[in-house]
């Protein structure tokens, strides 16, 4: 049983062993430090020429990686905290995603890896979930495995299959979580969906139709083992869907399973307003018009900076309780 972090580390090792075109760039990625969250621990020792520690120049190293990608390499950039992706936005949006689109016969297999999310007391500029700022960009994919997925496998899939830029999001609180692949408590199905990535499907019941369909991704998964168990004791049947591809999103698969329940909660850690959830909700309304028993309920973090102090932070961030309340609310609709 490995943790999310170990799985990712192993995945990178395998990837580096199998493909000599893969290069990793990032700040403080060399051993013995091995990256701020240790994702690259050991990698630079094993592959000294292909792990580059860089100056603190997020935009610059993104550009450098794009240059490598244009010339046949598969660069992986580690951005120490997802909050700093704003500095890379110009290179990603105006360069990396444009080249394969506007140039002929050009691919740009850039992988931007970054930890997102709060819960660690890192405060307003090191705790955000900014992926929503990169949603809906043509030629850009956002992949965010949960701990019901195998991030190490996924990053290898990206490196070998994708020809255009991908932002790979790792929730900070997932690193230490044990992967839930063979969890006996909650039957898990990993289905390859229409995006080519996997959607984790969890049910907290054996028979019957679900009361509520809960949709989330990435770090939201850490709430599920406890929450789904608790709701099962309350006879509330939940089908939880965790797509690892959050853009493009496997809307057909989501709609298929959500239709069964007719009541939908979408949970996401980013701050309230113009969220991933709202995008999914609008597509689900279109797909499931007439089949929903009540409005789709979205749960996010509060629309404010994420404080450092533990209780204040907890008050602002999405919690298991917020999700539970949303679930009870949608069931209460007649």
């Amino acid at each position: 049983m490995s943790t999310y972090l170990q799985n990712l580390q192993n995945g990178l090792f395998e990837l580096f062993s199998n493909n000599s075109r893969v290069i990793l760039l990032g700040e403080d990625v060399l051993d013995p430090y091995g990256g701020a969250f240790k994702v690259t621990a050991g990698l630079s020792t094993q592959f000294p020429n292909r792990v580059l520690t860089t100056p603190i120049s997020e935009a610059g190293i993104t550009g450098v990686a794009i240059g490598l990608a244009l010339r046949g390499y598969i660069p992986i950039v580690e951005i120490m905290f997802g909050d700093f992706l704003t500095l890379c936005a110009d290179q990603i949006i105006n360069h990396a995603t444009k080249f394969p689109n506007m140039y002929r016969d050009v691919t740009c297999p850039l992988i931007m890896r970054s930890p997102m999310g709060g819960g660690r007391g890192y405060g307003p500029t090191h705790s955000q979930s900014l992926e929503k700022m990169f949603l809906g960009i043509p030629e850009l994919k956002l992949i965010a495995p949960s701990h019901y997925h195998q991030p190490g496998q996924t990053i290898q899939h990206i490196a070998t299959q994708e020809i255009n830029p991908v932002i790979f999001i790792e929730h900070k609180l997932l690193y230490r979580e044990t992967l839930q692949l063979n969890s006996e408590a909650l039957p898990l199905i990993l289905k390859t969906d229409e995006t080519g990535y996997q959607t984790a499907i969890l049910r907290n019941y054996d028979v019957g139709i679900p009361d509520v369909c809960l949709i989330g991704y990435g770090g939201i998964s850490r709430f599920l083992p406890e929450l789904l168990k608790k709701l099962a004791a309350e006879e509330i049947r939940i089908i939880a869907l965790l797509p690892e591809s959050i853009d493009p999103v496997p809307i057909e698969m989501l709609a298929h399973f959500a239709a069964e329940a007719g009541r939908i909660v979408i949970a996401e850690e980013s701050t309230e307003g113009f969220t991933w959830a709202s995008g999914i909700a609008s597509q689900l309304y279109e797909n499931l018009w007439g089949k929903l028993h009540c409005p789709i309920k979205m749960v996010t973090s509060a629309r404010c900076a994420i404080p450092t102090a533990i209780q204040q932070e907890a008050d602002v961030l999405i919690s298991s309780l917020n999700i539970e309340n949303a679930i009870l609310e949608v069931i209460s609709w007649a």
């Binding site: 972090l5 701020a36 969250f37 240790k38 819960g119 660690r120 007391g121 900070k172 690193y175 230490r176 009361d211 709701l231 004791a233 309350e234 006879e235 509330i236 749960v299 102090a309 533990i310 209780q311 907890a314 919690s319 298991s320 309780l321 917020n322 309340n325 949303a326 009870l328 609310e329 069931i331 209460s332 007649a334």
Partner: protein, 382 residues
Amino acid sequence: MGMIIKMPLLNINDESATLVRWLHSDGARVSQNEPICVVETTKSAVDICAEIDGFLRQLAPVGSTYITGYAIGFIASSIDELVPNFEHIEPYSNNIVESTSPKWTKKAQILANRLGVDLIALAAAHPGVLIGEELVKSVAPSIESESLRAVNLTAVTHLPITHANDTHQERVLILGGSGGAALVLDILSDVLTQQAIGILDNNPKLFNTTLMGVPVIGGFDLAIQLWQEKKFDTLISTVVKDIADRVSIFERFTQIGIPFTNIIAANANVRRDCRMGTGNLIVHGSYIATGVTLGNNNFLAAGTYIEHHSIIGSHCTFGPRTSLSGRVKVADRVKFGTHVAVEPFIEIGTESVIASGVVLTSHIPSYSIVKNASNSVIRHAR
């Protein structure tokens, strides 16, 4: 000056660690760089060493997990130095308050709300049992009310274009001599198939008076004698103030075999494929859409609108202009005020009272009194 011992950050991916044991007793003398306690994360166990010479004060019990920065101890520089006041980092709590022994599941609670089941009563009837969704469903008021099952429903259509032939007139005896009786008489003045032959009322002051030319001939008891004398064919009740009265009057006479009739105003519109029992009084301008089922002894005041496929039990009274949308279900003995509006698919439990002007957007449990004009939840707080 002493020094606070804080839970250190042992691993970037762990924000807390467990205090495994103290290596010195409370108050013991410790020297700089000497291990004083063992803490553990998921990955490793580490000794924490004293940073100064002094006397150990244990501030946190072993066995618990503390977040990074939590003050677990203090090293006093002198034996009598007090632990300074400091602001403790509060451990995280999301304030979940759990009731100690729930009597029902949350699902059961939500369903009971939706279906109009009295959970407290149900729990009292099943002591020591965790009430679940199945039990709630099994006792949910059958919206096809008990009495409706017993009602002898016949197809009734009363389209305004219908012209009755007048070969045989049904002789109707009216129970109750106040305003309702006048309504019946007014209705019957347009209906060729039915004729009022008299009025019974328990108020002796009304005896020997007439209403629109029809005499008040005695109290309700007289009906039995008149029936035996074959003076009338059917009864109709205009008692609406007290539903219990209305029910007892209906039951008293039907039990001894005296039939009630349906009185339907000529300009009421009862569409095709409706079924109803007996004793229903349907006043001017009412509209009973296709597929509606009506039990016995209901009073529908002027302009009552009942949309298609709604099911109404027995002994209900509807104030003027009350409108029910399609597929509404109403149990027995429900009292509607004036101008109540009911959304489609709504279910209303037994003996509920809905005040005038209410807009019903959600199911109403039995025995409810709904008073506020808008009972809908406008927005759920998160």
